[in-house]
Amino acid sequence: MKSISPAEWTALLLSAKVAFGAVAAVTLPGVLLGWLLARKNFYGKVLVESLVYAPLVMPPVVTGYLLLVLCGRNGPVGGWLGRTFGWQLIFTWQGAALASAVMALPLMVRSVRLAVELVDRRLEEAASVLGYSPWRIFLNITLPLARSGIFAGLLLAFARSLGEFGATITFAGNIQGVTQTLPLAIYSALQMPGGEAAAARLSVLSLLLSLMALGFSEWLARRAKTGRSTHAPCR
């Protein structure tokens, strides 16, 4: 088996970059939306829920297409970004990260929501009569107690981003060195005559990356568990 080519390395690093970018993009909205859906009742909750969870049930290509319509050069969001900041999402690694983030958001939100629902509301009441504002309760009580669910959600988001194919290829394209992540590179390799060996190598790389993410999350979970009694998160 031939050693890994520079182009394959590029695909690997790009995959990691896109996945981390997607996780970074998904963290804040994921936590806030998860908390919102777990704790608040408001007008239009069903609509927000449906929009967040839609990428989970829609074909990824459709999600990619909708992103294209919204964030493409002539789309309402994409056009505005281009005019105001000169930014372009389409055919860039940031675009690939955005596509991955949208696909990963429902998993993140679901995980956070379940974790927040498990946080004893009586503890939040106890904090409020100690003088904690809703925002301080969220930061000091709810989030720390839901942290294992938040970590799990981040990991799911990372894993989902590594495997993202349909939305990425539709929205960001399949440009080597720019948006060609591992799954896209594997697909391209298989399209070429004699590309099976390259596909196999890329698959092994993909597997290693996933295992590393899994190991990291295990380590985090174990640290969270053993640190529960002695380690106190900062206030």
Partner: protein
Amino acid sequence: MHLAVDISLRQGGFTLNASIDCWSSALGVFGPSGSGKSTLIRVIAGLAKPDSGYLELDGDVLFDSENRIWVPPHLRGIGVVFQDARLFPHWSTEKNLRAGMTLETTGMFSFEHIVKLLELQPLLKRSVNDLSGGEKQRVALGRALLAHPRLLLMDEPVSGLDAKLKEQILPFLARVHRELHLPCILVSHDLPDILRLTDRLVLVRDGMVCGQNTLEGLVTQRGAFDMMRRSGLMSFVSLEVDGEPVRAGVRPDEIMLANRPVEGLSARYRKPGVIVRLIDHGPTILCLIDTDEERLMADITPDAVRELGLKEGSPVWCFFKAGAVHSFD
């Protein structure tokens, strides 16, 4: 403390209509389980919002449905000790204690003062998840105090504990009120627990306040008296047991009366006093007796009143059987 409550709250099939006006620094809220005591406390703390009414504490309007005033719980300065201690499991005992402390509210009592008062020193470094029920409740009490509330609400703080653990907490509650001069409201379905802190009572039944007065005022009301007698109405008496001073509780039917210091009785303890009031409650008459140190309540039959020639102002001797004396402290 001045507390004025006049609220109405519907929760599922349950309705609470409470009207209280209280100037006392310690108040006991007494009633059977499910009567609405806890809901009342939640309303005062701001954890439940009434449908309509008015709530005022020391001149601050905390809720007024007509003028759309609602002060959220974190701005009320009212501390709560819950039945389940509700310590934060992700923090150490010390961090839990300091949870409500802010720079602005130092003053009345320091962290060290509370640790000493509640004997918390040995617990500070332990995880709250390893504390016993009684220890948890003491930490919860300390945590509430260190937030420097202007009023402390205690919702059944000892109901989940067995008799021995209860004795670890109750003296502290009385001490907190006595030494820190902090207005307190104690909620309990156990009348003796309340009477050890205060004799100023609010009776709650079926979502209604059905009486508010001092214990002495309430025993004259037939309904309130019956409700309290079923739940362990007792008076407190200072006795000397084996040369040691003891404060003890005795129920009205555990006190025998005589018009002279009878010798050769099996009842071990006796005390002279003067009858201050006779209250006719149907089959029995409730006798209020002043001794040198306290006021006692004794049940007596109308026949005995006649035979002994008892009337208000008569001197009497009170006898207590050793087994009837429920000692405290």
